[in-house]
Structures are given as structure tokens and as C-alpha cells.
């Protein structure tokens, strides 16, 4: 009996052991299943709406403009959206791949470097804020950055996370759940023959050009045109005369920019007039330059001026000499020339930067008569403070025409005045409308004000 009881007890123990082992195995299996669950919790973001793809207007082709209304989740104060990922394909149903990223709260993207005339389809993925670690290594990121030069490293990391979503989950769920927009397209990129954004510039430019041409024609026809007196230009002959009387040289500085700067061109055109007078007065000119092409151009200009003055023998290539392209190296050399040679007259006509005051003050300290002209608004106060005469902005460009005294050239200056008149009229109209908009709060008047503003802004 005792043996029977012991056998039953042993059987019960075995049964208990088996049950506990089974339970433990089930628990372990359950834990394993839990570990295999996806690491990422995908916020169910609302997709963007009104998603449209169209050819970029006013471009040279190869660009498509995408626009959309923000996802509802992006409009919230602390939205869940981190960015919008742009997918592109040449097939409406498959082969979509990532081509770029737009920041959250952005509602447009321009896809560039496309083949003209090819049909493209687009989708936008509303991408969630990601809190986890990015698993890409440097070796993995670098090739991706080469593949997508338009993306930053951060974008690459984010996009790689999206790719992970794509692999694991996107194929399982419906697109709508993951905030993927509808497909937009097909759309082709095409180059345009006219940039409609520049229509206002074209109209204003044409008006001024036509008025310049009309006034040149009128002046050629013998009509007398009134031009206001420009003190700085009238002083040029006196300044050259002073140098002649003192037996000293004249220093001419054409700025520190190259011949592709219109101010340097303006300086050289004035140089032509000045050099002719210098040749007639038999005075010396010294022209240190900071650009090689300016040197060759200035030499030709002075040579021809001496020729037209009947003094080709007095010309020497040494009148124009190169110093250096470096801004302050050039200033140091020019200051040295001023202090050593003490020219009687200094001309500064061209594009200047920080060196303007250093040169003008040195010229002032040696007692030279100084005439400056530039279209750099920041340097004008320095020249006004340190020089005897300053050609302000447009006067620099008008100087050569003014000095020539030719009717056809003076006509172009009168045409310029038409442009000023147009500017004045629109400034007054704009100011009146802006004031009315501020006083009345009317949206319509504000719209008119903004329209006028847009005509004259870049």
C-alpha cells in the first residue's frame, strides 16, 4: 500500500514538473514572440492633400514643381511630422524611389535634373518624428550621399529609416494608413522661351531704353537739352590744370574690380576724357591697377587719347602699371606712391570697398585735390568726407557723356531722367496706397500696394 502511495506521489510530482516545464516553455516562446515584434511604432499620420505636380514655370527645363496642403498632423502646435519625403517613378503603380526631402511645414518641392519630355509620377510620404537611434555607419552613409547629392547627412539618415519602414511594414498596410499621398502625374518638364516673372522688368527696361533712344534722336536733330550742373565734373579740368601748374603727376585709381564690373568700365570711359586733357596740358599720369585686364584696357585708352590729342610721343606704357589683385596689398602700394610722389590730383573712379577711405584720407593728408566717384552706396560717405568732389552713383555713369558734350550722348542722359520720373510717380502712388491701406485696413488697397511693390522688386 505504501509502495502504491509512493508511486502515485511520484507520478503527481512528474505531472507537476511536466506542467511547469510546459508553462515555462510557453512563457519563453511568448517572450521570443514579443522580441520579434517591430521596434518602431509608426504614428498613423494623415497624408497631404491637394497634392499636385506640374512643370516648373519660367525655367530652362528639367524641373518639376510639387505642391500640397500640409498634413493635418503637421498643422498642430507640436506636430508629429518631421518632414515630407518625395518619391518619384516613371511608372504610376511601382518603382517609386526617394528623390528628396522637404521640411515639415513646407508645402512645395522642386525636383531638379530631370529629363525633358519624360513622364514622371510622384508620391509624398508624411514622415514621422523619429526618436530612436540611426543605425547607418559612415561606410553606408557616404555612398548614399554620393548617390543623392541634394540630401544632407541628416536627410540620408532619416530617409534610410523610411526605407526600413518601407521594407518591414509598408508592404503590409494600406498606403493611406502610413500617410502616403495619392499619385500625382504624369507630368513632363519643358523649357520655356520667356520668363514671365521678368515681364515687369522688361516693360520698365523697354520704356527707359525707348526714351533714351528717342532723346538721342532728338539731340541729333539739333534740339537743345538742359542738363543740371555736376560740380565734380566741372572741377576735372581745374584739377588737371592745378597738377600742370605744380609740375606734379596725376594719380588715377579705377577701383579694384575687373573689366566685367560696369563701374570699372565707367571709370575707364572717364579716363579716356581725362587722359586727352592731360595729354593736351602735357602733364604726367600715374595709374596703378589691381587687375591685369584693366591694365591693358587702360593702356589702350590712354594711348588713343594721347594720339587724338596729337601727342603720341608723350605716351609711355609705364603710365599704367600692375600692382596686385589683393585688396590691401594694392592699398599699401597706392598709399606708398601717394606719400613718396605726392601727386597734385587724385581721381578715384570705379568700384571701391574698404580701401576707399584709406586711400582718400592719405590723399587728403598730402594736400591733393581729390575727385571720387563710385556706385557703392556704403563707400560714398567716406568719399564725401575725405574728397573735394564726389560723383554719387548715377553721376559716375553720366560723367563720360557729360564731359563729351556731344548731343547724342547728352540725349541718353535725358532719357535716364524719364526713368527717374517713372520711379517718382510710382513711389508717390505706392506711398499713398500704403498709407491708405494702413489707415483703412482695407485688403483691396493692400493688394494694390503689394502689386505695385512686386513690379519693382526682384
Amino acid at each position: 500500500m505504501l509502495r502504491f502511495k509512493a508511486a502515485i506521489f511520484t507520478l503527481l510530482l512528474l505531472l507537476l514538473f511536466c506542467l511547469s516545464a510546459a508553462a515555462q516553455t510557453a512563457e519563453e516562446l511568448s517572450d521570443t514572440a514579443a522580441l520579434e515584434e517591430p521596434v518602431y511604432e509608426i504614428p498613423r499620420l494623415a497624408q497631404v492633400t491637394n497634392f499636385e505636380a506640374k512643370d516648373s514655370p519660367d525655367d530652362a527645363g528639367g524641373e518639376i514643381e510639387l505642391t500640397w496642403d500640409l498634413s493635418v498632423d503637421d498643422k498642430k502646435e507640436d506636430g508629429l511630422v518631421s518632414k515630407y519625403v518625395v518619391l518619384r517613378s516613371q511608372n504610376p503603380t511601382s518603382d517609386f524611389h526617394i528623390v528628396g526631402v522637404a521640411n515639415h511645414r513646407d508645402s512645395s518641392y522642386i525636383d531638379k535634373n530631370l529629363k525633358e519630355g519624360t513622364d514622371y509620377y510622384y508620391k509624398i510620404v508624411t514622415f514621422p518624428k523619429y526618436q530612436g537611434e540611426v543605425r547607418l555607419t559612415r561606410e553606408e552613409i557616404d555612398p548614399l550621399m554620393e548617390q543623392y547629392p541634394e540630401l544632407t547627412e541628416l536627410d540620408i539618415k532619416d530617409v534610410s529609416m523610411l526605407a526600413e519602414y518601407d521594407r518591414d511594414i509598408m508592404s503590409v498596410f494600406d498606403d493611406n494608413i502610413l500617410g502616403i499621398s495619392r499619385v500625382a502625374g504624369p507630368v513632363k518638364s519643358r523649357a520655356q522661351w520667356f520668363n514671365s516673372k521678368d515681364l515687369d522688368t522688361l516693360i520698365i527696361g523697354l520704356t527707359i531704353c525707348i526714351s533714351v533712344v528717342i532723346f538721342i534722336g532728338m539731340a541729333r536733330g539739333g534740339r537743345k537739352l538742359f542738363l543740371r550742373r555736376i560740380g565734380g565734373l566741372q572741377a576735372i579740368e581745374n584739377a588737371i590744370g592745378r597738377a600742370t601748374e605744380m609740375g606734379k603727376s596725376i594719380l588715377f585709381i579705377p577701383g579694384i574690380q575687373d573689366m566685367d564690373d560696369v563701374q570699372t568700365v565707367a571709370g575707364i570711359t572717364i579716363l579716356g576724357r581725362i587722359a586727352k586733357t592731360i595729354a593736351e596740358y602735357d602733364t604726367k599720369i600715374n595709374m596703378p591697377v589691381s587687375r591685369s585686364i584693366v591694365m591693358t584696357t587702360a593702356r589702350e585708352t590712354i594711348k588713343e587719347a594721347y594720339l587724338s590729342a596729337g601727342r603720341p610721343d608723350a605716351y609711355s606704357d609705364d603710365m599704367v602699371h600692375y600692382i596686385t589683385d589683393e585688396q590691401f596689398g594694392y592699398v599699401a602700394a597706392v598709399d606708398g606712391i601717394m606719400v613718396r610722389e605726392k601727386p597734385a590730383t587724385c581721381f578715384y573712379l570705379g568700384a571701391f570697398f574698404a580701401e576707399s577711405l584709406i586711400m582718400a584720407e592719405t590723399g587728403n593728408s598730402i594736400g591733393a585735390i581729390q575727385i571720387a566717384g563710385t556706385a557703392m552706396p556704403a563707400q560714398l560717405p567716406f568719399f564725401v568726407a575725405a574728397c573735394d568732389y564726389t560723383l554719387i552713383g548715377e553721376e559716375l555713369f553720366a560723367a563720360s557723356a557729360y564731359l563729351s558734350g556731344e548731343p547724342k550722348q547728352l540725349g541718353s542722359l535725358k532719357g535716364q531722367d524719364v526713368g527717374k520720373f517713372i520711379a517718382m510717380v510710382f513711389i508717390i502712388i505706392g506711398a499713398v496706397f500704403a498709407t491708405l491701406a494702413a489707415l483703412t485696413g482695407s485688403e483691396d488697397i493692400l493688394e494694390i500696394t503689394n502689386m505695385i511693390k512686386s513690379w519693382f522688386s526682384a
Partner: protein, 234 residues
């Protein structure tokens, strides 16, 4: 005749095409501006040889003829050739002859950092003294215009420093509230002067410059302005 006609024709064609290209994004017009800019850069690079050659010729001549201050020319030539050799032969460059000319440790980089940059800074620093001397002359109250300029300059000078708030605190502490209010208003007045009268003046100048550039460009394109060719005669 050809010496003038050909450049005028080139100016007319290139000028007109570039102006028209500004409004046409389609190829080949869209990139013409950039392309021409690149062509200019290529020409400018070769023109460096002209500039360097001229520099050497002028200074060798000065030394050879022992002209006034010829010793300075030796320094110029020495500096020119040492830098040229250091850059051309990549002397001391840790990456060898194929390395970047400005690589750290190269003689070129050392000379640039230890000599050229401080010298450049020295020249730039002169501006501080020149601004003071120019301001002293410009702000003398000789007439009403100069007096207005002086007052505006004083207000801006004061408004750009922490002085107004310190002075306002002093007056507030002394119980003179109207003076404290006045000095607290100085930074606002400074911003107003910069944003309204100053900006309006600058914009007027910029409008004039834009019109002047259009007018001058037309004169050049139409061949009315020929001074850059050396003469205005036909």
C-alpha cells in the same frame, strides 16, 4: 576703321544677346550669362601672366637704373618670387607636389598665414584711425546741413553703444525721470534714422545707379560711347 568697327560690332552683338538672354530661360540662352562670366575668368587667369610680367619689368627696371627708393623694389621682387616658388613647387607641402597649394605645413601656407595675413590686417586696422580723422572733418558744424549731419551722427554713435541705458539708469536713480526716458529713447531714434531717412537715401541712390547702368549699357551697345576704345571719334 576695322580697329573700331569690329569691337563695336562685337559689343553690339554680345550686349544685345546677353540682354535678350536675361528673359529667355530656354537653352542655349539660359546659361549664357554664366558661360560668358566663365570665359572672362579664363581670360583673366591668363592675364595674370601679363600682370606679373609687368610687375617684374617695372621693378627690375627700377633696381637696374637705381631709381629713387629702388630698395623697396628688391623687397617686392623677393616677395613675388619666394611666394611664386613656394606655390609652384609646393615647397614643404606634406602632400607633395600633387597636394593642395594651401595645405597646412607648406611654405606657402606658412608665409601666407604668418606674413601676408597680419600685414593685411595691419592695413585694414588703419581704417579705424582714418574713420576718426575723416569724421572729425565731416562733422564740423559749419552750416545747417553739417549741423544736422553732426546731430544724426552723434545720436547713431550713442545709440550703437550701451551708454544710453547706463545714463538712463543713472538719471532714473537720481529721480530725473524725463532724462531717463529721453536716453532710453535714443536706441529707438537710432533705428529710426537708419531704417527711414538713411534707407530712403540709399534707395534713391540705388534707383539712380540702376538707371545710370541702363543708360550707359545702351550707349555702349549702340556704339554711342566709344571712349573705352581709346577715342570717341568715328
Amino acid at each position: 576703321m576695322w580697329r573700331r568697327t569690329v569691337p563695336i560690332m562685337i559689343t553690339f552683338i554680345v550686349g544685345t544677346v546677353l540682354v535678350v538672354a536675361e528673359f529667355i530661360p530656354h537653352k542655349p540662352f539660359g546659361n549664357l550669362g554664366e558661360d560668358f562670366s566663365l570665359y572672362f575668368d579664363i581670360i583673366a587667369v591668363f592675364a595674370f601672366i601679363l600682370g606679373g610680367g609687368n610687375l617684374c619689368r617695372v621693378h627690375f627696371s627700377k633696381v637696374y637704373r637705381k631709381k629713387t627708393d629702388w630698395q623697396f623694389s628688391i623687397v617686392t621682387l623677393l616677395g613675388f618670387f619666394v611666394m611664386l616658388a613656394a606655390g609652384l613647387f609646393k615647397i614643404g607641402n606634406p602632400e607633395g607636389i600633387q597636394g593642395d597649394v594651401t595645405a597646412a605645413g607648406s611654405l606657402f601656407a606658412d608665409l601666407y598665414d604668418s606674413m601676408f595675413t597680419p600685414l593685411q590686417g595691419t592695413m585694414y586696422a588703419l581704417l579705424a584711425f582714418f574713420v576718426a580723422s575723416a569724421s572729425y572733418r565731416a562733422f564740423r558744424a559749419k552750416n545747417i546741413d553739417a549741423s544736422i549731419l553732426l546731430i544724426a551722427a552723434f545720436v547713431i554713435l550713442l545709440g550703437r553703444t550701451p551708454a544710453p541705458s547706463l545714463i538712463a539708469d543713472f538719471f532714473a536713480g537720481a529721480g530725473i525721470t524725463f532724462m531717463a526716458t529721453a536716453f532710453n529713447f535714443v536706441p529707438t531714434l537710432t533705428d529710426w534714422i537708419m531704417d527711414v531717412p538713411n534707407l530712403a537715401g540709399q534707395r534713391a541712390i540705388l534707383i539712380g545707379i540702376a538707371l545710370g547702368v541702363i543708360s550707359m549699357a545702351l550707349r555702349l551697345i549702340l556704339g554711342v560711347e566709344r571712349t573705352y576704345l581709346g577715342s570717341d571719334s568715328k
